[in-house]
């Protein structure tokens, strides 16, 4: 079996969302002598991306995303012994995610948290209608690399801008990436308020977070 075929098999295994299938594929890949980091990056993680795409298209659902993430985690565990020392169980980055003050919409934000977590980030979801100061406090407490700000209403969008201002006032802006989202947010808005990125949906949020943090 070629390496490419093996990667495809690993990726497909994650898409099945089944632990046994993923474990079997990982064992097989190990047997073929494929280095652990490649099994994870080109096989399992590629599968997880595909799961995200299918979720966005309504072909796979939230529990499947979690099952796939769980199965992938099991697969990664099998590889830990073969991984370079510093790479073991290292999270991709720490992200504080929440819906800004005055806005109780949290369904989309929760999906974003779930997808970021299943992609390997350490996520601190601080809920909805979150007083803006709490974002700052939580970022300090967790030493976060990124903050996700969700707003679902044109009337609460301003909260995203305010958090960026507060980060500046606290001298933290250079150390924290800001990702904004929610239906009324756009790339133009993100540019205007000086956010580091905007993502339209949860799988795009994962891609953007990886671009900025990994």
């Amino acid at each position: 079996m070629s390496k490419e075929e093996m990667f495809k098999e690993l990726s497909d295994a994650v898409v099945t969302c089944k632990k046994d299938v993923v474990i079997a594929a990982v064992e097989k890949a190990k047997g073929e002598g494929i280095p652990a980091p490649e099994i994870i990056e080109k096989g399992l993680a590629a599968g997880m991306n595909e799961v995200g795409v299918r979720f966005e298209r309504g072909k796979l659902f939230l529990p499947h995303v979690m099952m796939a993430a769980g199965a992938m985690e099991e697969g990664v565990k099998l590889l830990e012994a073969d991984m370079p020392k510093d790479a073991v169980s290292k999270k991709l980055g720490v992200i504080v995610n929440g819906t800004v003050e005055g806005d109780v919409h949290d369904i989309g934000k929760a999906i974003v948290s779930t997808m970021l977590q299943s992609a390997g980030f350490e996520v601190h979801d601080i809920g909805r209608d979150v007083p803006l100061q709490n974002f700052i406090d939580k970022i300090k407490e967790t030493n976060a690399d990124m903050v996700g700000l969700s707003a679902l209403m044109t009337t609460t969008l301003q909260g995203q801008k305010d958090v960026i201002e507060m980060l500046k006032e606290n001298g933290m802006r250079d150390d924290v990436k800001v990702m904004v989202g929610g239906a009324p947010a756009t790339q133009a808005w993100a540019d205007k308020i000086g956010a580091d990125c905007y993502a339209e949906n949860a799988s795009e949020a994962v891609v953007k977070a990886k671009e900025l943090l990994v």
Partner: protein
């Protein structure tokens, strides 16, 4: 110089596009819908007609004579009283005044009585007030007056309700527990909706509007369909309007079924038959507006989805048209140029029975 037409972005921003750009965006939006829903493209004639509607010089457009459709309103009773934070205009007035203004001044064909905390669950503690208001409104009005609210199943999860939040459970990989939490919540939601509507029917309501079914995912739709079924059984003549929350039924649970069909992942044309089966009278499909795309892209996409839903539906379809849905930009007060164009397209191309 090529002629440029005035359009909007999905966030309401003014933009200028040439006819070629408009056609390209329309087709791209259409292709997105056709791909996601596995539904047919619009015909060349329909695309031409959409281009005509978008490029009409008048600021505001209307349907051709003879193609008028009924308009029904959801939370309109408080749209006069509520200010912009409530998607309203902020003129102090009672709900009765709001409803009568819609009937007598704005030409609404049906109205809905809604509570300021617009979900079924919070209507329970104030049911006496709701019953009294329904009675008074009915005494003063002629058009059918429904009681309406959002199923909003999220209110049954912690911190708002008794069942552990499935979002938190899911993140801890407790998938079975998360699903059980949704199933329990759905049972309670069905029960609450039926109880509230028993009271409202006793007060002379003409029926019920389910506003934003599925907002909390497939469990929300499951509970709503069961409530529709139960209400149809208890009140054979009740008028039931079933409006959706979004275009795609979000799979939070993933395995809930109605009449043998998995609810998660359904698009408007697939939702329609289930709503009919449950016993509703009117189906209210939704297509979300993408704020990063042009009105042409959004309208091409929305009309493609809704046309398929109208064709699949045995019930009249009253498409949801408002800020951020139905190809209309997401603004507190969406502009008339965009609202009237999107509405005309829905009636004349998608073939909706009402708005």
């Amino acid at each position: 110089m090529t002629t440029e037409y005035k359009l909007r972005m999905g966030d309401g921003k003014r933009i200028f596009m040439t006819k070629e750009q408009i056609v390209a965006d329309l087709k791209e939006g259409m292709a997105d819908a056709a791909d996601l829903g596995s539904i047919p493209d619009l015909s060349a004639d329909e695309i031409d007609k959409l281009v005509d509607i978008i490029t009409m010089p008048s600021r505001m457009v209307g349907v051709e004579q003879g193609m008028e459709v009924p308009v029904t309103h959801d939370i309109g009773t408080i749209r006069i009283d509520g200010d912009q934070g409530n998607s309203g205009v902020g003129i102090p007035s009672s709900r009765l005044v709001g409803a009568m203004m819609h009937e007598r001044a704005f030409g609404a064909d049906t109205m809905e009585l809604g509570h300021i905390d617009y979900s079924y669950k919070p209507a329970k503690p104030v049911i006496a007030q709701e019953m009294q208001t329904m009675e008074i409104c009915q005494q003063n009005m002629i058009v059918p007056l429904l009681y309406g609210a959002m199923p909003n199943m999220g209110l049954y999860y912690t911190p708002d309700g008794p069942f552990e939040n499935p979002g938190d459970l899911m993140k801890a990989f407790k998938i079975d527990e998360a699903r059980q939490s949704m199933e329990h919540s759905a049972e309670h939601l069905t029960r609450d909706i039926v109880w509230i509507m028993q009271k409202m029917m006793a007060s002379g309501s003409d029926g019920v509007n389910f506003d934003t079914i599925g907002a909390a995912g497939d469990g929300d739709m499951y509970a709503s369909l069961h409530a529709i079924e139960a209400l149809r059984k208890q009140f054979p003549d009740i008028y039931i309007e079933a409006g959706m929350a979004g275009e795609l039924m979000l799979g939070m649970h993933g395995e809930l079924e109605y009449d043998g069909t998995t609810l998660a992942g359904l698009w408007p044309h697939e939702q329609a038959p289930l709503v009919a089966k449950a016993g509703a009278n009117v189906f209210g499909p939704v297509v979300n507006t993408n704020t990063s795309k042009s009105a042409a892209w959004n309208l091409g996409r929305a009309v493609t989805f809704i046309k398929a839903a109208v064709e699949a539906s045995t019930l009249p379809c009253h498409v949801n048209m408002g800020m951020g849905v139905g190809g209309i930009p997401m603004l507190e007060t969406p502009t008339i140029d965009a609202v009237s164009r999107a509405s005309k397209a829905m009636v004349e191309i998608a073939g909706v029975d009402g708005i």
